[in-house]
């Protein structure tokens, strides 16, 4: 099963998920220059929101075809509310404060969200079983794609295309670009920049929830600490692509997912590196890649040049 096409497919799946989460980091950073380190937990709560809908809202035995949209909506609502609430009550009062203050707040919020879920969600100390789509792996030639991966491989491009159209064509999207480039001047155009910031947090939250449902479908479980490493990797993907750039986030996600998958499956075939293969090294290779990009292309793969503000 470990053929190259199979590994490419695995990498694409993982990368799409990173990309969806990375959108949240990059949109918020692009507009308020804040690294929202609680975004990994916004992702995690989306997974729990979706699970809650399945376990406690829908009647037992609801078909997954009906449950899945409801879970997406439920998870989306939870993630969006937490993201927007964090902006309104944690970050907005600190706007204009030294950069370190909101950063520490974000880290605190991230720990708080984990602990709230850990302590209050029923049985949250264990891996919680996430419902699965009712069909087996899809085979395309020698490649086998699990049902859980099928979802993200369809959902991620749809989300991205919708976001790209929204940002480039809608009035609000253009206001968003203006706010990212120069928030003061955006206000002089009559743009309510507070509203734009809320929208950026909300879109990031919704995409994180879609990623969380993908995660649950693919790995079969959700857990209160699942946002930590996924968040860190997605942040890496955002920096890799060029933070602040939404296309960069998606491309950074895909590159990271592919690189990680390739490294863990092939590096141990290189003479002298037999010890360095396998899944346990995936985070190491992800961050090696990040360090290389930061050394040789600090603005990211397709990052914006900074010097264009005349």
């Amino acid at each position: 099963m470990n053929t190259l096409p199979q590994q490419l497919a695995n990498g694409l799946f993982l990368g799409s998920m990173y990309g969806l989460i990375a959108i949240g980091y990059t949109m918020v950073y692009g507009i308020v220059q804040l690294i929202n380190f609680a975004h990994g937990e916004i992702f995690m709560t989306g997974g729990f929101g979706a699970l809650t809908v399945y376990l406690y809202v829908l009647p037992n035995g609801t078909s997954m075809w009906i449950a899945l949209p409801a879970m997406l909506i439920g998870g989306g609502i939870v993630s969006v509310l937490i993201a927007v609430g964090a902006e309104r009550f944690a970050y907005r009062p600190l706007r204009g404060a030294p950069r370190l203050a909101p950063l520490i707040t974000a880290i605190g919020l991230s720990l708080a969200l984990q602990q709230v879920v850990f302590n209050w969600y029923p049985d949250a100390k264990n891996d919680l079983k996430f419902p699965q789509l009712p069909f087996g792996p899809v085979h395309i030639g020698s490649v086998s794609i699990q049902s859980g991966s099928v979802f993200v491989i369809i959902a991620a491009p749809l989300c991205m295309a919708a976001l790209a159209l929204f940002v480039s064509l809608s009035r609000t999207g253009r206001a968003m670009q203006a706010t990212a480039q120069d928030p003061d001047t955006a206000q002089l155009m009559g743009i309510d920049t507070n509203r734009i910031i809320v929208i950026a947090f909300a879109i990031g939250g919704f995409f994180a929830a879609v990623a969380a449902v993908s995660y649950g479908l693919r790995y079969g479980t959700v857990k209160y600490d699942m946002g930590f490493q996924m968040g860190l990797k997605a942040f890496t993907a955002a920096v890799l692509g060029g933070i602040g750039n939404i296309y960069g986030a998606m491309i950074g996600g895909l590159v990271l997912g592919l690189a990680e998958t390739m490294a863990t499956s092939y590096i141990d075939g290189i003479p002298g590196m037999q010890q360095l293969g396998g899944g346990g090294w995936s985070a190491v290779w992800a961050f090696v890649l990040l360090i290389l990009v930061l050394l040789f292309r600090p603005q990211g793969l397709i990052g914006e040049r900074v010097a264009d503000r005349a």
Binding site: T185, G190, R309
Partner: protein, 238 residues
């Protein structure tokens, strides 16, 4: 007749440092008023307070009969006050056309917006030629044209221009000043902040000389242009 803009005893501070220490002036419908003075006199601070980007410590601003203090910046544009900021501040990664459309962000009349964009292209033909180009690729003077055109897109009752001649070549500066004269002749009310006192005073109806946060001298443009202390301090004469 009451003034379009009335500023009374305005005080503005950055933290503990007071940058504007109680200034008063007014702008009548249809006239060009200029604030001149050296760097740090508080001219830009005054404009940024008028457009709502800064909150005043105290004082009263009345625009078109309504108080402006405490109104957020994005709502002040809607009241008819447009601000072309210092350093032009065009949106570099958006096209020229998109920059102009953002100037009309609050307007809903698509046909009218198109007509006004065309008018901006007539006023500044170079903008029309490069409409699809990213605004960041324009020269300084062209960016200034774009910033002015963008501010006009909101159909303002009062146009505030902050240092439109800053960093421009003499030829480009003349072009910009000629445009201001043209706008004035079309009836646009303008509040102009300039370091180039000669140019500003020769086209202004009224002028106010600012020094470290206060207005030290006021008069008609012509009076100030011929005032001995102004000539010494700002026009480089002995």
């Amino acid at each position: 007749m009451s003034a379009l803009l009335e500023v009374e005893d305005l005080r503005v501070a950055y933290g503990k440092i007071e940058a504007v220490k109680g200034i008063s002036f007014s702008v009548q419908q249809g006239e060009v008023v200029t604030l001149i003075g050296t760097n740090g006199a508080g001219k830009t601070t005054t404009l940024r307070t008028l457009s709502g980007l800064l909150k005043p410590l105290s004082g009263k601003i009345t625009f078109d009969g309504k108080p402006l203090t405490g109104v957020p910046a994005h709502k002040i544009v809607a009241m008819g006050l447009a601000h072309s900021p210092e350093g032009r501040r065009i949106f570099p990664r958006l096209s020229i056309a998109e920059n102009l459309q953002l100037g009309a962000f609050l307007r809903k009349d698509t046909a009218g917006i198109e007509k006004d964009i065309q008018r901006a292209y007539d006023l500044f033909p170079i903008l029309g030629e490069r409409r699809k180009q990213a605004a960041g690729t324009l020269s300084g003077g062209e960016q200034q044209m774009l910033a002015m055109g963008r501010a006009l897109m909101s159909q303002p009752k009062l146009l505030m221009l902050d240092e439109p001649s800053m960093g421009l070549s003499p030829i480009m500066m003349q072009k910009i000043m000629a445009t201001i004269v043209e706008l004035k002749s079309q009836g646009t009310t303008i509040l102009l902040v300039e370091q180039n006192a000669q140019a500003a005073l020769s086209l202004a109806d009224h002028g106010h000389v600012m020094e470290v946060g206060t207005v030290v001298l006021s008069g008609t443009g012509q009076d100030l242009l011929h005032d001995e202390s102004v000539r010494k301090a700002y026009l480089g004469e002995d």
